[in-house]
Subunit: 185 residues, 2 copies
DNA sequence: AAATTCGTTAAGAAAAAATTTAACAAACTG
DNA sequence: CAGTTTGTTAAATTTTTTCTTAACGAATTT
């Protein structure tokens, strides 16, 4: 293999980084994270820690954009503020363990789904119950109410399961069933 | 409790349905499904099966919108075409088992993530390797390459785990560890 | 205390996405 | 085979989202 000069090596290195940054940003995009936040996280993933000025330098967007993006990333647990003495600038570091980003992203999402839907189901079932138990209501309507009640009730099995999944991810229990390593292949 | 006349009962029933439809549509919206597709699926969830004309009637959008939405829903496994003889119209039925929608939605998403990112990592590692093994390159650059290599290599543990998660969901194995029912509470 | 640095927020501009209108093509009907 | 019905696709419009510019306020420095 040809030996590289430093300029070539640096280019190769940047190419490699861009490859990874592109893939991560695209994935996040797919998951509903805004492009700026996706690019920012992907960039930070390959850096130790960054302040806002370094971010806009590296990502090539405005400071306002970096400011809002970094907050979004904090909210989904992808980035944490780190306190460095000696500078007034806020510095942040990316969470680089994908098991942790997976956990905070999906657990947050799923918990929201569960509570939102269970609330609606609860309310709907109460209404349906009143129809079902009122014998003065036309049979046809009561029959439909019963069917919907049955379907909604079945859905609760799923929501409870999802809640258990969240719990087992948060506690780490899931890794007893599905261990992290599988080095071969 | 007051006894209901049929009009009131029907209203109550519609209210209950709207409650559930709203929650499901909002959830799907959150997951990157377009509003039209979300509302459509939520509507179909409470119906046996529907053709395009019934959809636009019920959802209140255009036929073109229903046509594209129903295809999106098919692609993510939320809706299946059902063949009914006697009519030229295409009829579709919603997948009502949320375990199944969960499975097709996330497995598809995760598989895409894994293959996209592993490809990028593979490529990047090859480049980094060339830098690392070239002793003529400046130590500083090689050192950075080594760090990135290490990080990328670590990320593969996560992608392999995600792939195993997909497999265990697809096979149903996961339900041995996390059973579906938990009736009490 | 005036001037500067730093980060956030609000308003406006630009870009992207979703939906509708309209043109089309395929399959059926009379 | 002319005329419908049905579903899809392309172009145009509307709506929504994202990003930037610019104004602001708090903290710091001189």
């Amino acid at each position: 293999m040809e030996s590289l000069n430093n300029k070539e090596a640096r280019e190769k290195l940047e190419f490699a980084k861009d490859q990874v940054i592109g893939a991560i940003a695209e994935t996040m995009d797919l998951y509903g994270v805004t492009p700026a936040a996706g690019r920012l996280y992907a960039t930070m993933y390959l850096e130790d820690k960054m302040n806002l000025d370094e971010m806009l330098e590296e990502v090539g967007m405005t400071k306002a954009s970096m400011s809002t993006s970094v907050r979004k990333l904090q909210n989904i647990g992808y980035v944490k503020r780190v306190y460095t003495r000696g500078t007034r600038k806020h510095t942040y570091a990316a969470e680089k363990n994908f098991f942790n980003t997976f956990m905070s992203f999906y657990c947050q999402q799923w918990e929201r789904e569960v509570s939102m839907n269970l609330d609606a189901v609860q309310l709907a079932e109460k209404e349906l119950d009143e129809i079902i138990n009122d014998e003065s209501v036309a049979e046809e309507i009561r029959e439909e109410a019963k069917e919907h009640y049955k379907l909604l009730n079945e859905s609760k099995v799923y929501y409870r399961w999802l809640r258990k999944l969240v719990a087992s991810i948060r506690s780490g229990e899931i890794f007893e069933f599905l261990p992290k390593e599988n080095e071969d292949t």
